[in-house]
Symmetry: C2
Subunit: 159 residues, 2 copies
DNA sequence: TAAGATTGACCAGTCAATCTTA
DNA sequence: TAAGATTGACTGGTCAATCTTA
């Protein structure tokens, strides 16, 4: 495998995602939410019982500290609620409010229509294939990352 | 084509890129640069004559205003230089300094080794295929975006 | 008029340090 | 000790407005 090929794919992933992020921001902005907030709506919509902030940060692949600020803004808009967990007082259960559900119900069809429009020329088999490769990359990065951390912990010796 | 399939791929692109960004930040940080700065080094390395900030923002797919700040920090480290364009006084030609080239030469092999390690189990054909699909998505988004802008300009009438 | 660069206000992400509770 | 949430300092991204030059 040639390094240039691999490098091209990595760059392509980053470029595509950067374009996706930019356009989805432009798409959501006039609708009153950010792309990150839409993700939160999506995740919580599937989790009627709510999630802890820690769980949210894992699903969203962002730092815990960032979830705090994201939820602060969404709580101010009354789209999500932090309620105390009855069993563990360290934890908030984060849930959608009725307003949050309503917002999600309004945005989802618009979003789906837009991405179907974008992808209408790509055959289904290719879509499946690409998803699978990306998943492999994600896992590869995960393995690489844990190996790195292990190396660091062991003292990172040079000789 | 089912919307859920498309939606899955989009989410996968965003998740993979988010993991890539996070890990490459952790990778570059101890080396003294950010991921965005490494990209700048890469782009300028291929362009001995230098680029305007506008051209840089197009290649990097970021806003012009952001290039200003990025270069401010890199100029302070003496990795890049802004020189006046002899033909157009509005423009800076941005080039790598010798220190910038040296840094690039030091980082590139480390980076290539890391991504080869990450991708070593993915067959070459799949890598090519995935690149192609992502390129199609990127183009699809581009087309969608221009159509949106055109619609906005025409007054965005409801009836 | 338009195009390149900058500035200011904002959102989103990271990390390191701290507080509270398990 | 460890885990969940928060805070503060920082980078990186967007947009809108402004300044200078074409």
């Amino acid at each position: 495998m040639k390094p240039s090929l691999v490098s091209t794919l990595i760059n392509q992933v980053l470029a595509t995602s950067s374009v996706l992020l930019r356009e989805s921001q432009r798409f959501f902005r006039p609708l009153g939410v950010s792309e990150a907030q839409f993700n939160v709506l999506n995740v919580l919509h599937e989790q009627r019982a709510g999630l802890s902030q820690r769980e949210l940060s894992d699903v969203l692949v962002v730092d815990r500290s960032n979830v705090t600020l994201l939820l602060d803004r969404m709580e101010k808009e009354r789209w999500v609620a932090r309620t105390d967990d009855p069993a563990d007082r360290r934890i908030y259960r984060v849930t959608l409010t009725p307003a949050g559900r309503k917002l999600h119900a309004r945005l989802m069809p618009l979003y789906l229509r837009a991405i179907m429009e974008v992808m209408k020329d790509v055959p289904e088999a290719k879509v499946r294939e690409a998803s699978a490769v990306l998943r492999e990359i994600e896992q590869g990065v995960g393995r690489w990352s844990s190996r790195q951390r292990a190396t660091m912990k062991n003292g990172n010796v040079r000789r």
